[in-house]
């Protein structure tokens, strides 16, 4: 199998009048990768996708597909296929006609097209459904037809614009696995747009986290989750607890933070910021709910946090404790349910501990909206 065709964005700027939708994006997407752009709505991720597919000319910078500059090449001439958010299946064409539309344009005979449609229908596990109209299929089936239609064009790069957002939760989770499987089978580059961090983490080889037109961080799921580069990336991807404060002392890759509420705490400086933070800098420390453990009452030190419990809940696989946190936000702690007894702490002060490697420091910055 070929290594696939890569996509490069070089100093990409996209403006609509005065509004900057994408600001100086530099991204290298390896051939055969499942690459996600992750960000809240309006962050410019769909704009990037439209620039790659050719529906939009960049205001500055370049889009390269397989090393070739795509400037002036229209969407019908690029080796990309786009799956729209609403799928955009042709309602008046049968499923098999939909799937093989790209072949019809190239002048393939009806027999060839039916044969290819049958192969693709087998691949998406909808054998014998070619004669139906899209309106006769369920949401998940339509989803798969859209994928088959895009793959039929044999693109080098498949672009997906939040294609799962219209599905219900169960189906969405099922389609994640299926999409990933299809991608690995066909071995082409997938560029996936989503605001759902679960989708991005489970499917992607690499993820770009976007905020207001700017790419905050590029990395694989583990790097993004464990080693965020910015406060936004830390708060947008997964649940996280923030501690605001300022750097009191830098000790190699770690730093002592004087927090506003919880005294002095030690944490690791995130990789992207190592060597860049100095004493007195405003900083934010992030600790995941699952990175805390209950500590003996009254323990003190630079990896202990004490706070009052507002309420608790039992989620099945975990006990969740919600405590008074920083800046009006609740501090959330998840203790895995391993069958241990668990007493109710509501209204009490409790002490938590964490390991330094699980707490990460980034420069103070904008947090993701709840």
């Amino acid at each position: 199998m070929s290594a696939g065709v890569g996509v490069d964005l070089e100093n990409l700027w996209i403006r609509f009048g005065d509004f900057v939708a994408v600001r100086d994006a530099n991204v290298t997407i390896n051939g055969g990768d499942f690459f996600s752009f992750l960000g809240p709505s309006g962050c410019g991720k769909t704009t990037i996708l439209r620039a790659v597919s050719g529906f939009l000319e960049p205001s500055g910078g370049r889009v390269l597909i397989g090393g070739n500059d795509m400037k002036g090449i229209g969407p019908n001439k690029r080796p990309t296929a786009l799956i729209f958010q609403n799928l955009a299946l042709f309602p008046l064409m049968k499923v098999w006609e939909n799937i093989t539309f790209s072949m019809e344009i190239k002048g393939a005979s009806a027999r060839e097209r039916r044969k290819r449609a049958d192969e693709l229908l087998d691949m998406i596990a909808l054998p014998g459904q070619g004669g139906k109209l899209p309106s006769e299929l369920s949401g998940g089936q339509r989803q798969r037809v859209a994928i088959a239609r895009a793959l039929c064009a044999e693109p080098d790069v498949l672009l997906l614009d939040e294609p799962l957002s219209a599905l219900d939760l169960k189906l969405r989770q099922h389609m994640r696995t299926e999409l990933r499987e299809i991608q690995q089978r066909v071995g082409i580059t997938f560029i996936y747009i989503t605001h759902d961090q679960g989708e991005a983490l489970t499917m992607s080889d690499n993820i770009a986290v976007m905020r207001a037109g700017v790419i905050d961080q590029i990395g694989d799921g583990k790097a993004i989750y464990n080693d965020p580069a910015t406060a936004f990336a830390a708060s947008f991807v997964g649940e996280n607890n923030v501690f605001r404060g300022k750097v009191k002392r830098v000790m190699g890759n770690e730093a002592l933070i004087q927090t506003n509420r919880s005294g002095d705490l030690v944490a690791r400086i995130s990789s992207a910021n190592q060597g860049r933070m100095k004493e007195g800098d405003a900083a934010m420390m992030f600790i995941r709910p699952e990175a805390f453990a209950l500590a003996p009452k009254g323990a003190t030190g630079t990896h202990f946090v004490t706070a009052k419990v507002n309420h608790e809940e039992f989620e099945g696989n975990a006990f969740n404790i919600f405590m008074e946190g920083d800046g009006g936000k609740e501090l959330k702690v998840s203790i895995p349910n391993l069958g241990q007894s668990f007493e109710d702490h509501t209204g009490q002060n409790i002490t938590l501990e964490y390991e330094t490697k699980n707490a990460v420091i980034v420069p103070a910055g904008e947090l993701a909206a709840e």
Partner: protein, 306 residues
Amino acid sequence: MPSFLREFFKRNGTGMGSLMLGLVLFWTVGLIILPQLSMLDFSFRPNLPPPEIGGPRDVYTLENYKYLIYGPEGGSQDYNAVDLRVFFRTLVAAVCVTVFNLILCYPIAYYLAQTKGNHIRIFALMLIIPYWINEILRAFALRIIFGETGVLNNMLVGLGIFDTPFDFIRNDIALYAGLGYAYILLMIFPIYNVIESLDRNQIEAARDMGASWAKIHQRVVIPYAKPGISSGCTMVFMLSAGALAAPQILGGPSSLWFTQLIYQQFNDNSDWPQGAAYAVVLLVTCILLVLAVMRLFKVNMGDIGK
């Protein structure tokens, strides 16, 4: 009472429901169906002076229909060549006007429907406002433009394109332009309405898969717009075939429209039964033609109402 009627009264109340239903019935039965039936009745009766109406000679007959085909009894020709030629020429001309209108209006409707912004509203207003002027005045305006010493001829001769003025009226160009212009909105708006609801992503999806603009229209836009196209074409065809003012004002001296023959029978000859027969033939032929074309293009009656 059928369930849809019960539902209708429940939603609107007995008083309001009866009023609305009454008005609709008055409109369809009183103003359309009954007069047409009366015309149908006329068309099968001989043209008699008033005292003889209801008398022994007032019997149903096919004379009026025979007249259209064979002409006057004892006439010099086997067929009523003059009237038949006018009849078929009217139908062919109405088809031409419809096709011409469709070719002209489809791009306009597509552009209006798929472009966003305020200038579209201005564009639409510019199409609508001329229709505040009544049909006769508009026809006369076109006559002034197309006349021998009209604006267009002055311009063409002035620019040296023609040596002598071109007779747009005798060559029926003014008539076709007038008929085409008269019904332009009836073609644009049904098509606009349908295309406006077409998801832009479908056009982009087709383009993304390599389709040319022609192919996108052929496979995606036109099939989707078919109900609007057929509704627009039906209206334009029916109204063109039945037009009277435009042919009267813009038609050349030798080119009669079939409606003008009907008018002559009613008005100049005071032969209502003959005029009624001609009108019925025109109406029935037009309806059959429309149904045949709808069948050919696989359009359902229900789609037209969309």
